[in-house]
């Protein structure tokens, strides 16, 4: 009886999908969301058209960008609203109904239960995201948005969904009561979204300085905004700003600098979200165990350590690989010797010199070493020769 097919689908996934996708419920929800999204994007397009009617600039790319940003943010808020409800009761409900005991009594490992719950709930959320894609891609007909922008936004949405899902599952395993788990997951998600903004705003008001940009890293709204900002000009989003917190957008965009290109905020948010999801998964995988929860064997320590180090390694290498494009260019090539400025002979009006004195007078100004100095050098020499020619005549 023990011998069974080696390729086995996690029974939890099958069970969850069977009961979630059955009947029209899941698909009716999906349809309602899609209808809502399309009405919303139509309204945004109309508003943008009305707003840009009297300006002379081409309208189409602006509409494309605005509709794109609006849709992506709306999907983000739908994710934030639905994911806790789908995940935060996953473990606690089983505990409340005593079915968790039944699962634990089977050879199914508790961590498989956790994994199954994650995959099943995420597949539903991912379905929502992917179902909205064809409609979102209508913005390509307006232009102003590239495929790359679209992929970045979808990637961010998927990672944010996984993070919120993991927060929900963790709370569910920790608190054991569905009501409390769902409520606290919503609180955490809300804090993630608005907490950084309030903190930044508070610092800005109290200290009268520009708050550090890094404060906004945890906020999914800022992260998503920064992932989209190279293509979407914040100034185009006057209509959206009152809906989706334009302040986030402005603050999330990197400060203007001429020395280097700062990393966009999402380069920090992405590892934070993935790392948080990973840590919560590791913690939750202990919380679901029935006995000896924190009695961790050394092999399990090693495994956790390998996973965490692997994650850190991947993130670090991603940073190193992308660094030539960003501010830490120095780290990669620390010895950039400044090329000496070319020696340029000062322009001297030939005719103004008296015969026999056909020679450049020795100058006390130093040889130029850089472009800036050269400018100086040239101008002083010019002045001098000018003066001399005037004096001669």
């Amino acid at each position: 009886m023990h011998n069974a097919t080696s390729l086995r689908i996690n029974p939890i996934i099958i069970k969850e999908l069977r009961s979630r996708m059955r009947g029209g419920r899941a698909f009716i929800t999906l349809t309602i969301i899609l209808v809502f999204l399309s009405i919303f994007s139509y309204a945004v397009a109309q508003l943008t058209m009305a707003a840009t009617q009297y300006s002379g600039i081409p309208v189409s790319p602006q509409i494309g960008q605005t509709v794109f940003a609006g849709l992506v943010f709306l999907i983000l808020f739908i994710i934030c609203a639905i994911t806790p409800a789908v995940t935060a009761n996953a473990i606690s409900e089983e505990k409340e109904k005593l079915t968790f005991d039944m699962l634990l009594a089977t050879p199914l490992h508790p961590v498989s239960v956790l994994w199954g719950k994650l995959v099943a709930s995420m597949s539903y959320i991912f379905l929502l995201i992917f179902a909205a894609l064809p409609m979102t891609s209508l913005v390509f007909t307006y232009g102003g948005v590239t495929m790359r922008d679209m992929l970045k936004a979808v990637g961010m949405l998927l990672v944010i969904a996984v993070m919120i899902g993991m927060i929900g599952l963790f709370m569910s395993a920790l608190l054991r009561k569905s009501g409390r788990a769902v409520a606290s997951t919503y609180v955490v998600v809300l804090l993630l979204i608005i907490g950084p903004l309030f903190l930044a705003a508070g610092i800005g008001i109290l200290r009268q300085v520009e708050p550090p940009r890094m404060l906004l890293i945890p906020s999914p709204v800022s992260a998503l905004a920064s992932a989209m900002s190279p293509s979407v000009n914040p100034q185009n989003l006057a209509i959206l700003s009152w809906m989706f917190g334009g302040t986030f957008w402005i603050m999330a965009s990197p400060p203007i600098s001429y020395d280097s290109i700062p990393r966009p905020l999402y380069h920090y948010s992405l590892p934070l979200y993935l790392g948080l999801s990973l840590v919560l998964y590791l913690l939750a995988s202990r919380l679901v165990l029935p006995t000896r929860r924190w009695n961790i064997r050394w092999s399990e320590w090693v495994l956790a350590l390998v996973v965490i180090l692997g994650f850190i390694g991947i993130i670090t290498s991603a940073y190193v690989l992308t660094s030539p494009r960003y501010e830490n260019i120095i780290i990669v090539s620390p010895t950039v010797t400044p090329t000496p400025a070319p020696q340029i002979a000062p322009v001297v009006p030939e005719l103004s010199y008296p015969p026999g004195d056909n020679k450049i007078p020795p100058s006390d100004t130093p040889t130029p070493t850089s472009w800036n100095d050269l400018d100086d050098h040239v101008s002083t020499n010019l002045n001098e020769s000018l003066k001399r020619s005037l004096w001669k005549s």
């Binding site: 009886m1 069974a4 079915t99 009594a105 050879p107 000896r292």
Partner: protein, 313 residues
């Protein structure tokens, strides 16, 4: 062979002792009833036996193996059924069994076969395509019991399988348990009603406040707790003479009148059978007409109450 042994099993929750020094022995192939009032520690004991809860101290052996060391192996030999809440409401009946068969990694063909067999065993074949939430309570209990059998375990731990069932469903559940015992399984079943299990169990253990108060066959327990037999008498006349005889008799400790007409009394009697015969002879000789003289019906609930109340006083 002994299927389940516990030694000085203790479990505390935040200072509250749920199970206290519990030592049990359940013979293989027997049906053991764990009986106690609500909150006596039955569920805690069963969860520890199923390996779902770590004992604070003490030891559990299943089929002679320590559960702490061999839990993963022992899971294949134990079927555990929690209280009746343990059902997924939004599944079909066959899916429910199929799901647990998958948890036990049964191959697809075997899964299908087991599902049909179990549906037949618990008499739910015609409900195969019904949603679990449309089932009656008795049917859910039977379905929940069926789930514990998908891997054909030889030990069954059933927590209150008959609680909340109407008399008919209770009879069906009892029949099912009998059938399972005939299949050679060791069954440990808990209940807060002694009579529910009395005629079914080979052995019972009475548990209260986490402690095992008595264990053995029901007759043994009854005998042990009632050093005072209770005799019931119904007399047709000469009541005063009878009362004199009764009150003066050395083995009678108390007389309680159950009804006046006809005069019926219950007598607590400490003597043996000979003493009882002598008492009857005495009464008849004195001219008392005795219509009924016999042992009071051994009321299981009384036994149970006596045992569990005795602990409080």
């Amino acid at each position: 062979m002994i299927a389940i042994t516990t030694r000085a099993l203790t479990r505390r929750f935040n200072g509250v002792t749920a199970v206290n020094e519990l030592s049990l022995k359940v013979e293989a192939g027997s049906l053991f009833g764990l009986i106690g009032p609500n909150g006596a520690g039955k569920t805690t004991t069963l969860r520890m036996l199923a390996g779902l809860l770590e004992p604070t101290s003490g030891e559990i052996r299943i089929n002679e193996l320590r559960i702490r060391d061999y839990w993963r192996e022992l899971q294949w030999q134990i079927g555990y059924m929690p209280d009746f809440y343990g059902v997924y409401e939004d599944m079909l009946v066959w899916e429910y069994l199929d799901f647990f068969a998958r948890c036990y990694r049964l191959a697809p063909e075997r899964r299908k076969q087991v599902t049909e067999e179990l549906l037949d065993l618990v008499d739910l074949t015609e409900k195969r395509e019904a949603y679990v939430h449309t089932l009656s309570r008795g049917m859910r209990q039977r379905l929940c019991l069926a789930h514990a059998l998908v891997h054909d375990p030889n030990i069954l731990l059933l927590d209150e399988p008959a609680s909340g069932l109407d008399p008919r469903a209770r009879v069906e559940m009892r029949e099912l348990l009998r059938e399972l015992r005939n299949m050679g399984k060791t069954i440990l079943v808990s209940s807060h009603i002694l009579s529910e299990l009395a005629e079914l169990c080979d052995t019972v253990g009475i548990i209260d406040h986490g402690q095992l108060i008595a264990s053995g066959s029901i007759e043994d327990i009854q005998k042990r707790i009632s050093q005072h037999r209770r005799l019931v008498l119904r007399l047709l006349d000469n009541r005063t003479i009878a009362q004199e005889i009764l009150y003066s008799h050395q083995h009678v400790s108390s007389v309680s009148v159950l009804s006046e007409e006809p005069f019926t009394a219950e007598v607590r009697f400490s003597g043996g059978d000979t003493d009882a015969a002598n008492l009857l002879e005495n009464l008849v000789d004195s001219g008392v007409r005795v219509a009924l003289f016999g042992e009071a019906n051994a009321n299981l609930e009384d036994v149970f109450l006596q045992l569990t109340r005795g602990d409080e006083s």
